[in-house]
Amino acid sequence: MSEIRYTKDHEWIRVEGDTATVGISDYAQNQLGDVVFVDLPDVGKKVAKGGEAAVVESVKAASEVYAPVGGEVIGANDQLSGDPALVNRDPMGEGWFVKLKLSNPAELAELMDEAAYADFVKGLG
């Protein structure tokens, strides 16, 4: 059974056991506009919660994608280098960024669930 959680910086994380997949939310891709480049970390890199996990660049700006929780990068979505538009087309699925092996699953409790994130986005107007 997987569960999905969100950060205030609009990353999502889907957890399955002690590994998780990270991407950016539909709201984030919509605000960024057309994504033109994604810079992904090397497998094996250790990231702290809130540390830079990737960079996403749209026509408007380059933005960091932060690790929702700490862990080790065990996979990166290589498809994004050839087709960065995947982030716009399917942000919650095929447009994922990295897979992490969680170092401290307890950190997940600090993140928002689906309903809380929906409320958070509504509050942004």
């Binding site: 506009g33 660049e57 933005s63």
Partner: protein, 517 residues
């Protein structure tokens, strides 16, 4: 930080009336081919005598294939570049309200001085004894910069604003290192120029962003909380990119120094305060001055930038080489400090942008101290006139008067279906280079207008009239016209996404036709 400025990225709907012509030209505005596409092998602008018979000694280094330069006649070359220059929009062609860039008129007297044979024909490798006048000019310009800023030292060599930032931060890093203090962090407020965090990161520092308050100024409490023994410097832009004077600048300096950090000020907006505020009096340790903004030297493709950095007493000894000194033998260029020197080293070949030094000093001498003071007054007056003339139809981002640039947000476009980008593109049809848009990031759909002191009241009234007209049409529901803009420019709305995803970075000759079998 996620960019949430509401900028659309898709090209507009091409539903305007595009008139096509047989030639592709638009009236007397020619559709110009690249010089390589005009290539006719063997065509040449000059008639050179055949070279005398020589023996080639290049061996394996001899050229094996064609050099690849296009064959063109002289009139072709002249027309090519004249036509291209007509496509360029420049400060010489009209009002250029690009906020944060200070696109002011470049006086022709500057150009005359820079072309004087005694200055224009110098070479940086000449013996110092033959360029005493040029060194005196650098020394005199340095004196003016130190006097205008109230600072004891200046590094003249940085080649542009961001290069000046780098110089300032390298001096700061050298000063910390000299006392064995390896600080890791630089604090940059959100209202600072975008180059500031880039410079700090390039210097190897970790960058921490300090939020802006409701008034568009640095949040002093947040800054105080972030300061600590690990902070090497605070980088503030003043006046900031919201066009506002950072009123708490002296407190920022005090807090910064109390924490053992240095205070860098981005002086890109010095035009608003030149002759009226001396940064040295505000507790600033280092500040670059864009000669190509405040002191009217050309920029934006018209010439190289130049970004001298003034330094406080604490940083003065770390100034990069070379620098000019004056002693009994005349002016000397110190290229190496030798033992006991603190200079952080060399930042650039030679001594800086000499041509820009000449132009900037000409500007200073022709204006005088009183004239420079009036530059700041008129620049601020013009920006406030723009803001006051538009505030009933557009929405100023912050209450109260501004400094040298007027910042609007996109609230006035709410529910019109017109975005800041559409509005900017429609300005092109009205004959204006758009203002800076979607920057600063702290304001949604930002439009940053800097008219500079160059513009007359008549010119600003016409500009304001055009913007009022556009704002009213947007509100009247004319969104198709905006979505299609520009209709009258040499090119219609460009596809920025495709340009970024599939960039064409160089021209390649078409593949040769396949030989018939």
């Amino acid at each position: 930080m996620l960019n949430r400025q509401g900028r659309p990225t898709a090209p507009g709907n091409d539903n305007g009336t595009a008139i096509t012509t047989f030639t592709g030209n638009r009236g007397l505005d020619h559709e110009e081919l690249l010089s390589f596409e005009q290539d006719a092998p063997g065509r040449c602008g000059v008639d050179l005598p055949a070279p005398p018979k020589t023996t080639e000694r290049l061996g394996g280094l001899a050229r094996r294939d064609a050099i690849g330069l296009p064959g063109l006649s002289e009139p072709q070359v002249v027309r090519h570049f004249v036509r291209l220059s007509r496509k360029n929009y420049a400060i010489d062609s009209g009002l250029y309200p690009l906020g944060s860039c200070t696109m002011k008129h470049n006086p022709r007297l500057n150009e005359k001085a820079a072309r004087l044979p005694g200055l224009g024909d110098l070479h940086p490798m000449q013996p110092v004894s033959t360029v005493q006048g040029a060194l005196e000019l650098i020394d005199t310009l340095a004196h003016w910069l130190k006097t205008l800023t109230g600072m004891p030292a200046v590094a003249m060599s940085p080649a542009a604003g961001a290069h000046g930032e780098l110089c300032g931060l390298m001096a700061i890093r050298a000063a910390h290192r000299a006392r064995g203090d390896a600080r890791k962090k630089v604090l940059v407020p959100e209202s600072a120029h975008g180059t500031n965090p880039a410079t700090a990161a390039f210097c190897g520092y970790e960058v921490e962003s300090i939020p802006a308050n409701e008034e568009g100024r640095v949040d002093l409490d947040a800054l105080a909380r972030a300061l600590g023994p690990d902070v090497a410097a605070v980088m503030l832009t003043n006046p900031n990119t919201c066009g506002l004077f950072e009123r708490d600048v002296i407190k920022v300096a005090e807090l910064t120094h109390k924490a053992g950090a240095y205070f860098y000020c981005d002086g890109a907006n010095f035009n608003a305060i030149v002759g009226r505020v001396r940064p040295g009096d505000l507790g600033i340790d280092a500040m670059h001055i864009n000669l190509h903004k405040t002191f009217s030297t050309p920029h934006g493709g018209g010439g190289p930038g130049s970004g001298p950095v003034v330094l406080s007493e604490a940083l003065a000894s770390f100034v990069p080489v070379p620098y000019v000194v004056h002693d009994a033998k005349g002016f000397q260029l110190v290229e190496h400090e030798g033992a006991g020197g603190h200079s952080f080293g060399r930042l650039k070949g030679f001594h800086g942008q000499m041509g820009m030094f000449i132009r900037a000093l000409t500007y200073m001498l022709s204006h005088g101290a009183d004239g420079l003071r009036q530059v700041a007054e008129d620049a601020v007056l013009n920006a406030n006139y723009v803001m006051a003339s538009l505030k009933d139809v557009m929405t100023p981002a912050f209450e109260g008067p501004c400094m040298h640039e007027a910042l609007f947000d996109d609230r006035f476009l709410k529910d019109t279906g017109v975005t800041t980008l559409d509005f900017a593109k429609a300005m092109i049809d009205e004959g204006y280079h758009p203002m800076t848009m979607y920057f600063p990031l702290v304001v949604h759909g930002a439009m940053l207008i800097e008219p500079t002191e160059t513009e007359s009241k008549d010119a600003i009234d016409t500009f304001v009239g055009a913007l009022r007209h556009l704002a009213e049409r947007a509100k009247a529901g004319d969104k198709e016209r905006f979505a299609a803009a520009p209709l009258l420019a040499p090119r219609r709305r460009l596809d920025e996404t495709r340009a970024a995803r599939q960039p064409v970075l160089r021209w390649k000759p078409p593949a040769p036709a396949q030989a018939a079998e």
